[in-house]
């Protein structure tokens, strides 16, 4: 895999979080967290609920006071600044539009509070409305808008502030699946158009993978891996990241490394798998307890095999999904899933031969759960 990360000069950190700790009494939500976000970067904070991703966003926004540590925005220490003085705009999951004001009132509220001149306000609203295509809605109240329109207005409220950093707190989670994918594309387009720094919190891995320049996967207040989507997907740092990203989930086989015919192989339930092609800098010493992770699309079936090592498996269940067909098989006492083309169908109980693509596989230490 040859992934070239986007190059950023070191001085261009748009947002920097340094040694950030946040605790509520005895409960530590974020512990010593460090994060640098480049200028113009789209960073996604991804994790399941309660992992601290929204808390981190609220700290950056200034809505929560950190217990320890510092936050820099545009190289300015804003740790003690009010939210309005940080140069941020924020979009919330529940839209948080002021229900008693029209769309125009919602967009202009912050500017009026700041005491901006009327014609400048009008100019900014016109621009935001044009970008987001909400011009016909300006005189409506939020109650008369659909979910997608409301979220557009909420984005507009961040847009008119003309800020350096956009913060999104699960902005699409309240929308239905179709709207979500439409707005996802719009947000991506918006980012390409504005080139602002955007920090986006979500629990949806598809949103993370499609939108992000870099993804930070969080678990219990700790960033597990910070990398671009392709690296995250193909070279997960640890077992948690590997299991979290990917749907259907990665197959995990627990076993150990053994010496066989002069090479180290992976062995589980007395079946050996060659590790040829697996890319690692570490020594693969025999006797180590490990977990082999292979994604369903990185397993070749029958006709796809090109003379590499293959294993007998029995088809257990088939899940046709239209474009793909997910088949569940029994292999060496494990149940594993394999993704094949939608047109290929398998009978229950059929015998097939499987080959693992070790160049795309992941090997984790069973104890530390870290990637080897």
């Amino acid at each position: 895999m040859n992934v070239v990360p986007m190059q950023f000069s070191k001085a261009n950190h748009s947002v920097s979080v340094r040694d950030l700790t946040l605790s509520f009494g005895a409960l530590t939500v974020l512990g010593n967290l460090n994060l640098d976000i480049h200028d113009g970067e789209f960073l996604v904070l991804l994790g399941s609920s309660g992992c601290g991703k929204s808390t981190l966003l609220n700290c950056i926004a200034g809505l929560l006071e950190p217990t320890e540590g510092q936050i820099f925005i545009k190289d300015k220490n804003v740790t003690w600044e009010e939210p309005k003085d940080r140069g941020i705009g924020m979009v919330f999951q529940s839209y948080a539009l002021y229900p008693q004001m029209t769309v125009e009132g919602n967009l202009s509220f912050g500017l009026k509070v700041a005491g901006m001149a009327k014609d400048e306000i009008a100019k900014r609203i016109a621009r935001a409305a044009e970008i987001l295509q909400i011009e016909p809605l300006l005189q409506r109240k939020p109650a008369a808008l659909s979910g997608g329109q409301r979220q557009r207005v909420a984005i507009g409220r961040a847009l008119v502030r003309d800020v350096d950093v956009f913060l999104f707190d699960e902005p699409l989670s309240n929308l239905d699946a179709k709207l979500r994918s439409e707005l996802r594309v719009e947000i991506k387009r918006l980012h390409q158009q504005l080139k602002n720094t955007m920090i986006y919190v979500t629990h949806d891995q598809i949103e993370a993978l499609t939108l992000a320049d870099r993804i930070a996967i969080m678990k219990s207040g700790v960033i597990q891996q910070l990398a671009d989507p392709i690296t995250i997907y193909n070279r997960p740092n640890n077992l948690f990241v590997a299991g979290f990203i990917g749907s259907p989930s990665m197959n995990f086989l627990h076993g150990e490394l053994v010496e066989e015919g002069g090479r180290t192989v992976f062995r589980t339930n007395n079946v050996s798998f060659s590790l040829e092609g697996y890319d690692t800098s570490e020594m693969l010493e025999a006797g180590r307890k490990v977990v082999l992770g292979v994604r369903p699309e990185h397993i070749k079936v029958d006709g796809d095999l090109a003379g590499e090592e293959a294993h007998e498996a029995v088809v257990d269940i088939e899940e046709p999904m239209g474009a793909d067909n997910l088949i569940w098989l029994k292999l060496a006492g494990h149940t594993i899933s394999v993704r094949v083309g939608g047109a290929r169908r398998y009978a229950i109980g059929a015998q097939v031969r499987l080959g693992f693509d070790m160049t795309m596989a992941s090997l984790f230490d069973a104890g530390t759960e870290e990637r080897i």
Binding site: S94, A96, L97, A143
Partner: protein
């Protein structure tokens, strides 16, 4: 696409067998109007309503009778000759022992007590409820608990100390003193009411307003207040009826010329000069009760409208 969908419907139509309805129950089950359940339900409701309305009926008819008719003793019979004399007398001429200018003096005293008490108590309680819900400060929960405990202490315990405090401040016996007392005693329940209401508003709205740069008062006045009409109406109903109906504080903290209406009503009914004028007493009582009644009728509708207007998702 269109031809595909028509094809599908055609296929479904030919597959499905058009059913013929079997005899027996179909559609909605009919309900009998005179079922045992309905008779019980409406019977009990009717009896309860009668029980509550009968005294009111007696009061209204008695207040419209002349004294000779009342002496006949038929308290349930409607007035033969309707007279508004007792109402006029109750309002303008009834004697309370000292003066004989009726309830009107007490009415205006009560208005002067109620209006500032209601406004001040609601304003103070809404601001403190808002800050307790949205601007948590160190010890805010403790402060709130103490305030709530205050609601459970019987008033009687506090009367004597408050009398002394007001005397030392030099406002004992004045309307100002009574207004302060009403405002303070309304605090616990009103603050609880407002705090819970503001806490139920989406927190993200408050955060969005902070990002927009609004401060404490701007968020209160421009975001929270416009969304809180229903709870303001509820608080107003509570305070208006509570303060208007108050007797204890009125009799303790005022002097005869500043007595509220309830205290004066008591004095009119209890001061016997020769014959007890039942019709005047009934009219005076109805007059005193009119204000809370009107508030219930008027703001009850406003209340429902307020809830409907406030029920905006977003």
């Amino acid at each position: 696409m269109a031809d595909v969908s028509t094809l599908n419907t055609a296929a479904v139509g030919s597959d499905a067998v058009r059913p013929t309805l079997a005899p027996g129950p179909r559609g909605r089950k009919p309900k009998r109007v005179l079922s045992r359940r309905n008779i019980m339900l409406y019977g009990i409701l009717g009896l309860a309503a009668l029980y509550y309305l009968l005294p009111l009926y007696v009061m209204v008819v008695t207040s419209l009778k002349g004294m000779p008719e009342i002496r006949l003793g038929n308290i349930f019979s409607p007035p033969v000759e309707i007279t508004f004399e007792p109402w006029v007398k109750a309002w303008a001429q009834a004697c309370t022992g000292l003066n004989c200018d009726g309830l009107s003096r007490g009415f205006w005293n009560s208005v002067q007590i109620m209006v500032p008490s209601v406004i001040v108590s609601i304003l103070v309680a809404s601001v403190s409820g808002y800050s307790l819900a949205n601007w948590r400060f160190k010890g805010s929960e403790l402060f709130f608990s103490i305030l709530i405990i205050g609601a459970f202490i019987p008033y009687q315990v506090m009367i004597y100390p408050i009398v002394i405090i007001l005397r030392e401040m030099g406002i004992y016996g004045t309307l100002t003193g009574l207004i302060i007392v009403h405002t303070i005693f309304g605090m616990p329940i009103l603050t609880l009411l407002f705090r819970n209401y503001f806490a139920s508003l989406p927190e993200e709205l408050f955060k969005a307003a902070r990002i927009d740069g609004a401060g404490f008062w701007q968020i209160y006045g421009r975001i929270m207040l416009p969304m809180s009409l229903p709870i303001f109406v509820v608080a107003m109903i509570l305070q208006v009826t509570g303060i208007w109906n108050d007797f204890l504080f009125g009799v303790v903290f005022t002097r005869p010329d500043t007595y509220p209406m309830t205290v004066q009503l008591n004095n009119i009914v209890n001061s016997v000069q020769g014959v007890k004028e039942y019709n005047v007493n009934m009219a005076a009582t109805l007059l005193t009760g009119a204000v809370p009644l009107i508030v219930y009728f008027v703001s009850g509708r406003l209340f429902v409208r307020g809830i409907a207007a406030g029920a905006v998702k977003g």
